[in-house]
């Protein structure tokens, strides 16, 4: 699995990136607008000033006269501390003001205010120009009034607003970044919940995942569920196949054994008898393995839908021990049973199966003329069935590994076995909510297998 970056982190960065972009954009827009607004304000004041001057134009004895109104200049001090320049020309000749003020680019239409930006001295200035015709004597004289102002006030106002906008933008971005992180976490919550639910499942739980699923995850969930269904079907098919195969092998094996038995009784030759006995043992072993495969399939099938019946464990232990008495007797092994009345709920077939496998193992690995002890005890919370033999123990490997399928102890050379017995035991006991304790007895002599079942 190649792990790429976290979706949550990516989502957070993406959202925060968008927020940053928006912050910068909004800061820029506000700054531009503030600058524009400040410039327009200045333009308006300049226009008012120029118009106020133009309104004082009059003609006196054939000459154009004007009186600069005090207000025309005092209003120019309202925006900021800007330098003020002005010029009044009549008929292209300077009437008053700054002669070297830059000329306006286009002559304004009469009565209209024209704005222009230029430079005067070392500074940038904004100029407003208005033209009027004054009748000096009989002559109409065009008079142009230009009022100009440096732009420091405007720059200061827009810089101040821009700074304010920057502060707001940064605050907005930080808030947006926090909200992005929260939003990312929130929107990934269903995904995490589903992941947690799937990972909480047991190893053999292949039921479809039934959860509230956001739209985007529906395809994933559908694929997951269909994958699990196919997996389940595939497992069931192979188990059916194994069971079927085992069943089909067992029946002819039984015929072979019967025939071999008959043959054994009818031949007198010692060598042939030996061969037939070996054949019978091999057939028994094969039949046992096939039985275990069937057991395993049955366990796998029945644990899916576990029966909950009251079981008298003492009776169960007695019956099981009785069923195995014959094979124990063949090795001169005595089965001792020590019980007290214990009642549990569960599937009697499965539990009998498990117990039989443990006992079978114990008998198989015990040397001849020994004892296998079955003890049934009860504590406050659970029932314990322990089977103790005097065999070679469980070997040096980790005891738990022995419950894995087809895993056998490292000291079982020379003894035929499938490695399925303890797997079946483990499956049954854990399906009942219990556990299997595997121990080698003190002194390395004999194994003790305890099935712990909750009451």
């Amino acid at each position: 699995m190649i792990v790429t970056g976290s979706i949550g982190r990516r989502l957070t960065y993406l959202l925060a990136g968008v927020a940053a972009l928006l912050s910068v954009l909004s800061w820029w827009m506000v700054s531009e607008l503030a600058g524009e607004a400040a410039e327009r304000t200045q333009d308006n004041v300049l226009a008012a000033s120029a118009t106020a001057i133009a309104e004082t134009l009059r003609s006196e004895q054939g000459e154009v006269r004007l009186e600069l109104p005090y207000s025309a200049f005092s209003m120019l001090g309202s925006i900021g501390e800007d330098k003020v320049f002005y010029r009044v020309t009549a008929d292209a000749g300077l009437l008053t003001g700054y002669a070297d003020l830059p000329a306006i680019s286009a002559p304004p239409a009469m009565g209209q205010v024209v704005f222009d930006t230029g430079s005067f001295g070392e500074e940038t200035i904004r100029m407003a120009t208005v033209s009027r015709v004054v009748l000096a004597g009989a002559e109409p004289v065009p008079v142009t009034v230009t009022v100009a102002q440096t732009r420091n006030g405007v720059a200061q106002i827009s810089a101040g607003l821009s700074r304010l906008a920057a502060i707001f933008s940064v605050a907005f971005f930080m808030l947006a970044a926090v909200l992005s992180a929260i939003a990312a976490r929130k929107s990934l919550k269903p995904l995490n919940e589903i992941a947690a639910a799937v990972s909480r499942r047991g190893p053999s739980d292949l039921r479809p995942v039934e959860r509230d699923t956001p739209e985007e995850l529906v395809p994933l969930m559908a694929s997951l569920n269909s994958l699990m269904e196919r997996l389940g079907q595939s497992i069931r098919r192979s188990e059916d196949f194994i069971a079927e195969a085992a069943h089909r092998v067992r029946t002819p094996l039984a015929t072979v054994r019967t025939q071999a038995d008959i043959a054994l009784r009818s031949v007198g030759d010692e060598t042939q008898q030996q061969r037939l006995r070996a054949m019978i043992r091999a057939v028994d072993e094969s039949s046992r393995s096939a039985g275990q495969l069937l057991d395993h399939a049955a366990v796998a099938y029945r644990t899916d839908d576990l029966a909950r019946l009251p079981i008298n464990l003492a009776d169960l232990a007695k019956q099981t021990a009785a069923a195995l008495d014959a094979s124990a007797a063949m090795k001169d092994i005595s089965l001792s049973l020590e019980t007290e009345p214990v009642q549990v709920t569960g599937d009697p077939v499965l539990l009998e199966n498990a117990l039989r496998n443990v006992l079978d193992n114990a008998i198989k690995y015990s040397p001849e003329d020994t004892e296998v002890k079955i003890r049934l005890t009860k504590t406050a919370e659970d029932a314990r069935i322990s089977i103790t033999d005097q065999g070679p123990g469980l070997g040096d490997g980790p005891a738990r590994a022995l419950t894995e399928r087809f895993r056998r102890g490292n000291n079982t050379q020379g003894i035929v076995g499938s490695g399925l017995g303890l797997t079946i035991v483990e499956d049954v006991v854990s399906a009942h909510g219990g556990q299997v304790d595997l121990k080698t007895r003190d002194g390395g002599n004999g194994a003790c297998v305890t099935l712990v079942l909750p009451l």
């Binding site: 200049f73 120019l76 501390e81 330098k83 070392e122």
Partner: protein
Amino acid sequence: MRYACLAFVMMVWASLSNAMVIENQRSYEGSGDQVLRILSTADLEVFEPYILAFQERRPELSVDYTVVSSAELYRAIRQGAAFDLALSSAMDLQFRLANDGFAQSYRSDATAALPAWARWRDLIFGFTAEPAVVVLSTDRLDGLEIPSTRQELINLLRENPDVFGGAVGTYDVRESGLGYLYATQESRATDAYWRLTEVMGRLDPQLYCCSGEMIDDVRAGRLALAYNVLGSYAAERIARYSGGRVKILRMQDFSNVILRTAIVPKAAQQPEAAGAMIDMLADLGLREKPGNWHLPPLIAAEMGRASSFGPIRLGPALMVYLDPLNRRAFLAEWEDSMEQP
């Protein structure tokens, strides 16, 4: 040859036009080579304590102090005369110099501490607030009621032509930049100004260039009343020659307050030293108590800001009456009122 001739003529013309009418000048030697050249409208005796105090702070600096009229100062700085600091009570001319780019900007903690109305663009700094006052001779006005508003003053002048005939003094606004500033601002602020001018014009007024001479004449009994005198000078002169014969009066209806301002001319060679002087003047301008200085602090104007005694505002409006057309119109009206046959 023709070019050489032209150049010679231009040089002569330039030197003539550059020649300043200097009223007073004094050098104060410091321990170092640097010279701070100050061009000022304040009389030497008024400003000397400031120079001495400055040299206590900066003993290495020599100070060269030149006293000229405000119009001369304006002309000299416009022509690029090599001064490091220009101090003038003619706010309008100082403002125009700053507006037209003849001032350097200067910024320090001391100038930043000045109230916003006492500075403009780090170019021009007010360091005193001086009201226009009326100076009376108590001898000549014996038995008459002391006026407190312009209306009362007009009535007083009208009713006692025998007392005030030929004995009323005021600025010749054609000569004095400060007188012109007072007159224009007052004409804008109160309509009583023109009526007062009319009344004074009928009394054969004496016209002066400077506050000092007016006060001296009142003290000597040659004038019964001097109108629009720079208050700080009046106070200073009366403190010096006190005899109880001179009374200072501040009109209650309206009274102009001018700021004495400093600029660092563009041509300044010692802007650092000029800045140090501005710092000291700004500190003194913000002092809480009058102390032993001849020029009043800005705080006096601060207290009057709420009433009609606020200082004339440093702003582009100051340039209105400097416009030649406006000046011509104003002077024509003033002459019509003041010079009656």
